[in-house]
Symmetry: C2
Subunit: 302 residues, 2 copies
């Protein structure tokens, strides 16, 4: 299956999961009248919205380059990641404030009653989809799916903290456990959200690709290069799952355009094979020797 | 003066203006005890913050490309514009809600007392700096300065609406004028903020340059091209004041690399002269005729 199909399928799964959880929670919440389950259902509604935005962004990001977006639509995914991470970070801050408030007020979680099974089931579903999304995110190098995965993890950890708090209250009468656990969860969420915000900001600001990827590209180019003159001005950036790369390649000035192009085609092909989603532009420059032969100028040879 | 210096100077002017206005308003506000002037002073404090962010972003955007940001730092300006437009848009929504509330409650602006001269003076200063910023923004194609200019305009129009409201109340006892004027101002602010948000989102999403600029680039390339094969894959995008351009150029395959490079250098030079802040990468391709002479393949000739 192509990466773009994988990403879109994962984004669809994420919406369907959020939708099923919301429907289930609403049904159980209304039947049992549990406020905890109902408020969790409202949470899931927001998840549907976020997963929906993600789905649209990923579908858009996978559209091929067109006249209006000649470098492809990868940055749509970047923006979706940025927005989703900001919302997740905001939720983290809110949970933090709320748990400090509860700790100060000495408030304990109210009984979950019949809703406890529903929340436990929802935790399992969220955990499974979160793992799956993270796996696809890593396979396809998709920051938007990573953000979606974090979003589901948030539900897992907050609900686990809530369940642990209720248990601790029932058995040990430790009223502060829930608030303290929530705080820890909030700190973890904030930490992960900030990582994602940083990641998407890097893409927005056209920062270069990570060191290992650049080294790989450099290695491939160098394999074809002579000693003295080879390549310079290697520029790289990322847009969603696309990696945009361009550089200047110095070859013997006596080569014909056809010969030089054969070489650049080969390089483009090899880099594209090694770097998933690479888009390569090579600018050829002639060596500057007055009177060179290929051995002297050391430019790239076939 | 170089464009980057112009931009940085304009951003500095903007901070100094906001700072002077804030100091003046605080002094007069404390001396006269006018709440209207004091709240306007707090407004100016926020202006200092926004202008400060803008100044830092513009200074960063004018840094030359380095290893970490190989395509330059133009996108820093884009992000500053996006953030500033979002804040301005938010303020617009707030003014709109506030004026609807005031209209519903029938509340009229309270007397400005001795502060009226201060506000009038501040309106004139804000208007002058806003014009100046807009002029430099157009000259240097800087979206961040355009956002800064809109920010000062907002103060001009809201303060004018406030002054008009007070006057209308004093002379004609029309208590609703102030709220209605504020609403109109809010709508205008929102309209301008949305335009700027759209503009900066286009840059973030790597949308192509506007039609006239592309036509100009195409015109320059075509002047040097033959009839059958010339150029394709023209890709353009914008990052702050930088315009990033790349395209494929088909030339006769029998040309040497040195000859082809002379041509691309010339093209790059001419495009850079015509398009302010252009960064051009040309990928040369050979014509595909089996047996061509320059006349046949029509590739670019010197």
């Amino acid at each position: 299956m192509k990466n773009s199909e994988k990403k879109i399928r994962a984004a669809k799964f994420s919406i369907v999961t959020a939708l099923s959880l919301a429907v289930m929670k609403f049904t159980v919440g209304i039947l049992t009248g549990s406020m905890a389950v109902l408020s969790s259902a409202i949470d899931s509604m927001l998840d549907i919205l976020m997963s929906g935005v993600n789905f649209l962004a990923i579908r858009q990001a996978e559209q091929p380059a067109d006249e209006n977006h000649p470098y492809g639509h990868g940055k749509f995914e970047t923006m979706a990641t940025l927005i989703q991470s900001l919302v997740i970070g905001g939720s983290g801050v809110w949970i933090l404030i709320e748990s400090v408030r509860r700790l100060a007020a000495g408030a304990a979680p109210t009984g979950l009653g019949s809703g406890i099974a529903v929340l436990a089931f929802s935790v399992i579903c969220s955990w499974a989809i979160s793992r799956y999304l993270l796996k696809v995110a890593k396979e396809t190098d998709s920051s938007a799916l990573a953000a979606d995965s974090l979003h589901f993890s948030m539900d897992v950890y907050t609900n686990l903290a809530l369940l642990a708090g209720v248990t601790a209250m029932a058995f040990f009468r430790l009223y502060w456990i829930d608030a303290v656990l929530s705080m820890l969860v909030a700190c973890y969420i904030l930490y992960e959200a900030l990582k994602l915000i940083r990641l998407s900001l890097r893409e927005v600001l056209d920062e270069q690709l990570p060191e290992p990827l650049r080294k790989q590209v450099e290695f491939i180019i160098k394999q074809h290069c002579g000693k003295k003159y080879n390549f310079h001005n290697l520029r790289t950036r990322k847009a969603g799952s696309h990696k945009l790369i361009d550089f200047h390649l110095t070859v013997c000035k006596k080569l014909t355009v056809a010969e030089a192009h054969q070489l650049t085609d080969k390089l483009e092909h090899e880099i594209a094979n090694a770097v998933q989603g690479a888009d390569i532009t090579i600018h050829v420059e002639p060596c500057t020797f007055d009177n060179c032969n290929e051995e002297d100028c050391g430019g790239c040879r076939r």
